[in-house]
Subunit: 440 residues, 4 copies
């Protein structure tokens, strides 16, 4: 392979095609080289602009290059602040811990110890599974149909997607899948199956150490759990000494309207996993929240080189100020209503194509009767300058998840693009135009 | 728990003691709050200065807040460069890919596809194990005594440390441990046991998908593999269709004297894991190098939110310029000789205490006959303003791993502190001095 | 421990108490030393007679010391017939193979190869799981709540009972439990959950190699699967290339009224496990039936020392003659009706105590609202000279499973004892008698 | 498939070829249908006589149809003795327990509880692994290269043979293989590797619950452990609270010269597995011996339908009388010397072909430099009326294991046949003889 030069290449993505692994995926859908970003807008190398309804899969709740946060980062860099510290104590980490305590936990009456498990969601989930097994002395963990918890072996065992699971090359053990809320239709409370199998000593369900769940399954197709179902689940856990883990990696940090996705339900998990937007600026960071009585780790029993990403702490601290009053929550709510109203209009306009609207807050989506049309729609959107992705086991849901900080006008602009894309896809042309197309 | 205020606290680390999980560890050895860093020096909140012989466990090969790299980061931030991109194509990523190809792979005659598996070493190892299992259709992976490969479940199964393994709470499967080079004494080439068990269809060793190893075991006690042993291992792998994985997370990026730790041995691994210092500035980043014929991933079969940490790409690209000529290599070599000479002097001075010198390049250490004395030494060093850590299964090795970019004078200063610490520990004072001490 | 002598011991079971492991169980319920047996009657050392409604847990369908079979055994022994042959060819084995083919398979239009997997049910199940995994190249096996398949590690993983599972001391892997027919009430066809999870690529259910089930769960509490449910299950298996395994170890050989328990349902399993009464005389023997297209074993890939128990073959061959006409089937049917009628009478008499009658053919039972009363009942029965056992996850079912060959008069006698035991337990005495009892 | 009739079939083994699974193996080597047996002689359907140097793979230590035992069996059958009893108490079982205590355990100063785990060796091994894991609360079990412990999933995980392991279709977990005595040459005591890995907390060896071994590996190629090695192993186990399990299924009951194979070494295992010849007459039976302090089973925590095979108890009881004096031991010793002398002669005569003699007592064998010649030899032997089998990972050992009760004259006759077979194989004929053979 000769040295590759940027000049004269045939494809925009030639460098990636030649040098990067076949595992790459989003760059196959969004075929351009991005250069800059600002809140909900991206610009590619050719100065084409895009509205971002994907938000880094939930890692960019505060938008691209949030200016408030950036000024703190630059300031910190220029004053020689510690960047990488493993789990040594630093001023930046101390500030984060205090701000998180005072802005998030204390006002919500929550008591959790904060663990830094490494900078990714899957690190957090791995740490949660470990401590749950240590606390209970048991190994089995109940997870749910269409769950997504990560790609390292422990988290992957709790992830439902067959394609991702198959990538492991080994049987995945230590977990039991149960039907998520709504899996057996609206009339069945699926916690009853779990409870029956726990109570029945002949059921084959090994008494779990923990139950892990997302309150709304982002990758799994925007399936949401009702507050009642969550409370039933919590009750079952309490009655049997099972730890309740909420993986709020994607749904936390305001995505569903409140900082934690489970606030309105009233449940109080034993362990909460946060990552993605906790780092504020798209910087790798994760924390695991543990009820103090479960914090029985020995020092260093779990560790990781990048658990002290201080740029993340600096950005996270600044981002938490969004939660010092209710302005952001109100804005999310307003945006969410705009999106809901829009999606309802689209769903009734294309009722033959769209079966359902799912999600809440700033993660909502359209479920297509023919899954392929969700992907096609996202392709058309991209051509129109709108970035959207699918989710669900058959990629049947077209998902809207803009930054929480998106301007109302940009949101509107994005929805207009989406409306146009739907129009193009499902009502592409009048007879005369069709004729024209054929003859061209 | 009431809101904690920074004022009036009794301990320097009160905030951490109260709010952070018990799993924290290094802050228990280095009991201060760090504030700033510059190349090999750290400064704490009280303006006390420390020389850093730990270098972020190998993540800071180019020092703290490397100025060349920092200016690129600040520039990138201020121009609204994309920070977080999943695996979409960005200009920053393209530059990294090209620079890595042109500066590292091409000059060494290496052909590898670059995979971005998520930003940590354990992400890279997990991806390596997955693809090795996929390529071969087999599940077992041979690893070695005292190996360290990470904390997520797949990597942990290949990690020797009983304490870390115990943290998993489940039996760890899919791996077989074999004795590392030197484990059975200098006369036994331990690859012969591996080879015998592979050839013997009754040995109980399931034919492995891969062998994974560090060429020098950083966490395991600075045990090094000889070039001959490495070549034997490669030969065995080739003869039996087993993939050879080098985990160069800690030993790569120049730590042992060359960019890859295995360059001088002549082996050509099938898969190479890089993280820690690949991110240049202590920023979370990892890559997995795959021989093109093994790059049979399907798109998205392994993924991760932070595999597109563009600040990491920017920093990494700039850091790679250190490898465009041989200046850094020469400096590493010079520093390494300084350290070797120093350690040899110490080992002969305290021959009753020190059993051995281990390591090479800028990772060398003293092995103590009484393991506790290694920890005590590091404690005394910290009091004198030198940061050093232990390694090995009994923490019996006191380890020197300064930034590669450390100034000769600072290196000398650090060694002086170490010499003084040894003096204090083993020949603390003459009778008169003792008296003096007592009376003070 | 001094040599123990039979004379002068204090307890009937002193030898067992002192020399046998604590794992012993039935001898704790039936506290006597049995000496002789004849069809459905047992006699203990003290010449006390018992009617046997337990039939060796289904291994004695043709009664104790069946005279037709015994004469063949004695004849074979006296003529120096081969007793133990591994899997060498013997005349006795050839006769068994031919008789099984001509008496059982051929008349039912069944085509199966016969495998001798070792002499126990769990050997047969282990072999079935192995070949199913080999045929499909997959590992997961679906089994059902309250299933019992055996005590060796592979079979135990498919067994629901928490107490038995806990005995393994390791996490049991490779299986997924689904709700058995009726588990979610009479209105839910539980195959729909299985089908949904198979069709949903995000369900977390790894596509199974096989489904294994008992058509009526003997140990699990006499839960029976309807023919419709079985046919649905078979259809799902066929549609997804999943092998269907019926474990007919306890329910086969006529227990439910036909030779195979599934005959009336019309399903045609890929693999059938037989043991217990296949050996005719209570002799250890098991066979695994494989559809010819699945018989892809390599020679000796599964083996076992006692897979050639020729006394078993001799006894089995003679026992199969019971199936050369429909006399036995008619007798089972008549006995089954007698039992059903009796149990219905009891259930209505003690409707406050008995919640349900379960089972069919010559395995039927009473379900007690208070599980402890099932055990108490069996204790009272034993005192009255009737041997009965409980089953179910809470031992809540008192089970009747006499030899198929029981004489009508002995069956009647046994039912009378059971009626008396129920009377004693639930309506123990009239006021006058109570007074009498108290004063005694 | 039409009903098959015995008449007119083309192959002796047609019935087996058509009706029995492809897994059958010994009938492929010994292509005839056996009819009768008496001590060390077998007769086939065509009245051809064979000398048996295989003894049911060690299940027929007292020969075929041992007359002393048979008369007890027939007597028991005719008096309506209980045949099948699960684990109820019977007179036959009581007699066995007392006889085993008084004849075997008491005279050797051994204190063990007797467990009946089901009637096969693998049942016994499964029970041993379970109780060891329960006693220690640990999961890992150390086993050895070329070990054979059984075919059910738990035992198979401790079996070295790749072909057998592959049959499982799943990764086998919970065991670690270490080199057996002699595996690294005569100069290395391989227990030192085990000890080093146990002592080294970084070795990756999870502290085992138990070590399981055969003192002489019958299936693995007649590798024997020295008494010193066994004592070292026992010492290591004691020092680390690891249970020592001897699988004496094949080597027990006198095969190596003493009742237990380990008697001369002086070790005292925590658990001993016995099967094969414990049943006396080739009848399925197994026991697990447990030190009383380890007998912490709960009732029924392990069970099995055929753990009460009373014909086995009757035969076993009678067989134990062979151990009430030292006659049998003396006879074994004499036969063993005859065999050793013979094999030494052969090994020096064919020193270019035979590399080694292995084994002791009445299990000895010739190791062939070219493994195929071991199989060829057994084929030639069969043609000459001698039944012998190979063992070892490459089937490179031709194994002699006649019944212990073989008459001296029959042993001599067998050795003559073997000598002739070697002659035919390696020095088949001079030219003149060849001519003669051709013309005959």
């Amino acid at each position: 392979m000769n040295a590759i030069k940027q000049e004269g290449k045939k494809s925009k993505l030639q460098v990636f095609d030649q040098l990067e692994s076949e595992v790459r995926t989003y760059c196959r859908s969004f075929k351009t080289v991005f250069a800059k970003g600002s809140n909900a807008k991206l610009v590619d190398r050719d100065n084409r602009e895009y509205i971002d309804f994907f938000a880094g899969a939930g890692a960019l709740n505060y938008g691209h290059n949030n200016k408030r946060i950036r000024s703190k980062l630059v300031e910190y860099l220029l004053q020689d602040g510690i960047t990488h510290s493993l789990d040594m104590a630093t001023e930046a980490k101390e500030k984060f811990l205090l701000t998180f305590q005072n802005t998030i936990l204390e006002p919500r009456g929550m008591k959790y110890k904060v663990m830094f498990p490494g900078p990714t969601g899957t690190n957090s989930v791995e740490s949660a599974l470990k401590i749950a097994r240590k606390v209970t002395g048991r190994t089995n963990v109940v997870c749910f149909t269409n769950a997504f918890h990560g790609m390292s072996l422990g988290s992957l065992a709790a992830t439902g997607n067959a394609y991702k699971r198959g990538g492991s090359g080994v049987p995945l053990t230590g977990t039991t899948f149960m039907p998520y809320d709504g899996y057996l239709g609206p009339l069945v409370d699926t916690t009853s199956l779990l409870e029956k199998m726990i109570l029945d000593s002949g059921s084959g369900l090994d008494l779990p150490a923990a139950v892990i769940l997302e309150t709304l399954q982002g990758e799994g197709g925007l399936n949401g759990a009702s507050d009642k179902w969550l409370r039933n689940l919590e009750r079952i856990c309490r009655e049997h000494g099972i730890l309740l883990i909420v993986d709020d990696v994607q749904m936390g940090c305001g995505r569903t309207g409140t900082f934690f996705s489970f606030e309105k339900s009233g449940i109080r998990p034993d362990i909460v996993c946060l990552s993605k937007s906790i780092g504020g600026y798209g910087l790798p960071m994760a924390i695991t929240l543990l009820r103090p009585e479960h914090d029985i780790w020995n020092p260093g029993e779990h560790n990781g080189t990048f658990r002290g990403n201080n740029l993340g702490f600096v950005a996270a601290t600044e981002a938490l100020h969004y939660w010092s009053n209710d302005e952001l929550e109100k804005q999310i709510d307003a945006h969410a209503k705009t999106i809901s109203a829009f999606l309802n209009r689209m769903a009734s306009r294309y009722s033959g194509k769209i079966s359902e609207i799912r999600g809440k807050g700033l993660i909502q989506g359209l479920v297509f009767k023919n899954p392929e049309e969700a992907s096609k729609l996202c392709g058309v959107c991209f051509d129109k300058g709108l970035i959207m992705e699918t989710s669900g086991p058959s990629d049947e849901v077209a998902k809207l998840m803009p930054p929480l900080t998106i301007e109302a006008s940009v949101l509107k602009e994005g929805l207009n693009k989406l409306e146009a894309a739907l129009q193009q896809l499902f009502a592409p042309a009048k007879p005369g135009e069709l004729l024209q197309t054929k003859s061209s």
